[in-house]
Amino acid sequence: MRITRKAAGAAAATAAVALVLTACSGGGDDSAEGGEEGGDVTLTVAWWGNDDRAARYEESIDLFEEANPGITVQTQFQDWENYWTARNTEAAGQSLPDVFQMDLSYLRQYGGTGQLADLSEYTGSTIDTSGFEEALLSSGTIEGAQYGIPTSQNTLALFYNQDVLDTIGVDPLEPGYTWDDFNAFIAEASEAGAGEDPAIYGSGDYTGTFWFFLQWYLQQGEQPFTEDGQLNFDEAAVTEFLNLASELREAGQLYPTERAVQLAPLGGFTSNEAAAEASWDNFLAGYISDAGTENIHMLPMPSGDNGPQQFWKPSMLLSSGANSEHPEEAAELISFLVNDPQVGEIFGTSKGVPAVAAQRDAMNVEEGSVDATVLEYEESVAADVTESAPLPVEGFGSIEAEWMRLAEELGYGNITVDEFVEQWFAFANDAVGQS
């Protein structure tokens, strides 16, 4: 009785709600205050990161406000996960900040659905792009529209812990090593470390990270995504990639999933129980801090037939909300943050190696520091970076998460490689390019 009354009321209101929601999607209030005529402009800025990054941003923004007395900047920040919850909610309410950090994996999601301002009218003018390499700058574009300006770049690297290698008496790999060499190294390290308590392994299951598959696929001579945002690889490719590690999996020589779950948010590598792990090069600082040792070194990714064929990826970008009421000032702030040498000095390589040369040169790089190591690494692999970054498709975040979830199931032995492939493709075909 009551329930049908509720339902009837709800049905009657549905029409009204539909109108409201469509109206809301069309336009809404910008949460930024200010914008009085001829007077102060207030910009909203958002970033993700820890307390250290917050301090650096505040410092940089103070400099901007000094140089631009008519602009006040209101900042906000969250940690990575909650950042996107907040941004997604704002997007639904059409109230994204004037300037905010953007990640490549979400660029198409936000840009392709009209949430981001097209900055191409400002590039070259308000936004000084002279210090950018063309390839890096264009990684922030989708079909000609500049949705984000890269702040910094990174590329993949294989990290290894020399302390751990010393403990088990295994030599590190040499640059130019292949995927087979990598497998052999892992097997050797896991065997040597089997007697330790807790046991030491060569590495975790590297096939569990979607980006590594993309890197490997590039080495096969193909782009993983098409221009219009579809997948450009098939089940056979994924199966082949996953099977690279199948011998190790069967022999139990990969870092066990159970243990990794137990140690989360750390992993095998950061707990000094695995000798090597691949990741983005600017994660060095985090690794050193978590593992508690500075004796961590970097190598390029395993080589295919034509070398590692790595790519520069914008480690993060700055975008502007399409609903911004001050696009010109937002562009000024973006330009300042990516170009100003003092800002480069403030951040160092904490967000990645700065995209603009002026910022790179301004960094106070001490010998032997994390910044220095990352810079040296990037210089040493520059010759190996031959590809452009794959532009993630819409729904990238969820297919990446699905890949990780299936990898965990694979690690527990709940599914086979074939089932992994089948399930992932079923999910991905549904998730990619929905609108």
Binding site: K6, D29, T44, N50, D51, A54, F77, D79, T89, G292
Partner: protein
């Protein structure tokens, strides 16, 4: 002991051994009960507080010793995490976060008590048309998982221009939007005998006076309980502040807390532990202070014949 006095020795009544034995038995029984009580209580305490102790000690371990380390007592003690936590984030001081949380929590308590008591009284004691369906609707508001209402709610508050203020966090409290407390108070009120209401009616009281003079004072345990919970829920509320507070100067403790562990940069687990400990102290104190009022229960007040 013997004293030299003029008066004769006082007559001592004959010793009633039976009574003495009974009293002794009763005393022993009480002692045994006491021992059992304390044994059980202490045992439960250890089990219950182990995680809390772990957290406290972890906040004093260096970062590398926190994860994966199963030892309770630190090998190396450090106070650096507390320094980090107290130094604030992004230019906003720790005390700002603290005061913001405190302000929100206190206002939430006031709002909840004010609005929930009157709503509960209406549901429990006033017979008006539509009471049944409205009660069902109120219970219904408890059933919906919050994740699907946050988007429409955000749009609503955004259109009202209330984002980046405390209004979205406080308005619901002042408008009895937490059905949990209304329902709790309803259950308490229903335990109060109606004979009191009727007696007051005969004296000519209307609902207003019955509410203020009779029901409200007798509801003290419910009000105290609700206050405690409201304070704590508000203090720990994370999603609301995340979505609605844009200016770091308005941030509350739970938001600040999450800032220390970010998977894309260097994580400071120790600082997060330290801040968590600091964030817990006020709520613990609040609870310790206010739980005393639970002792003075309704008991036999106001029940006559």
């Amino acid at each position: 002991m013997t004293t030299l006095t003029e008066s004769p020795a006082p007559q001592t009544p004959p010793v009633d051994h039976e009574a003495l034995a009974r009293r002794a038995a009763a005393r022993n029984k009480r002692r045994v009960k006491s021992v059992i009580f304390h044994a059980v209580a202490v045992g439960a305490t250890i089990v219950v507080l182990y995680p809390a102790a772990w957290m406290l000690f972890a906040s004093m371990k260096p970062n590398s010793d926190i994860i994966g380390n199963t030892q309770l007592i630190p090998d190396v003690w450090t106070a650096e995490h507390y320094t980090t936590a107290l130094s604030g984030i992004g230019g906003v001081s720790f005390w700002t976060f603290f005061n913001n949380s405190l302000l929100l929590a206190v206002l939430s308590v006031v709002g909840t008590v004010l609005s929930s008591t009157v709503a509960a009284y209406a549901f429990a004691r006033i017979d008006f048309p539509g009471r049944g369906p409205l009660f069902a609707v109120m219970i219904g508001t408890l059933l919906l998982p919050f994740h699907v209402t946050i988007i429409p709610q955000y749009i609503l508050f955004n259109n009202l221009g209330m984002v980046n203020t405390y209004y979205p966090l406080l308005l619901p409290k002042f408008l009895a939007a937490e059905a949990f407390f209304v329902f709790l108070m309803i259950q308490f009120i229903r335990g109060i005998p109606r004979s009191l209401d009727e007696a007051a009616r005969i004296d000519g009281c209307g609902h207003g006076r019955i509410f203020f003079r009779i029901i409200l004072p007798l509801m003290r345990p419910a009000i105290v309980t609700s206050s405690i919970f409201t304070f704590i829920w508000s203090w720990n509320d994370f999603l609301g502040p995340l979505l609605y507070l844009k200016d770091p100067a308005l941030y509350t403790m739970p938001i600040a807390l999450r800032q220390y562990v970010d998977q894309t940069s260097v994580s400071d687990y120790g600082a997060q532990m330290a801040m968590a400990v600091l964030a817990l102290l006020p709520v613990m104190i609040f609870f310790v202070v206010f739980q005393r009022f639970l002792i003075n229960g309704v008991a036999t007040q106001g029940i006559k014949g």
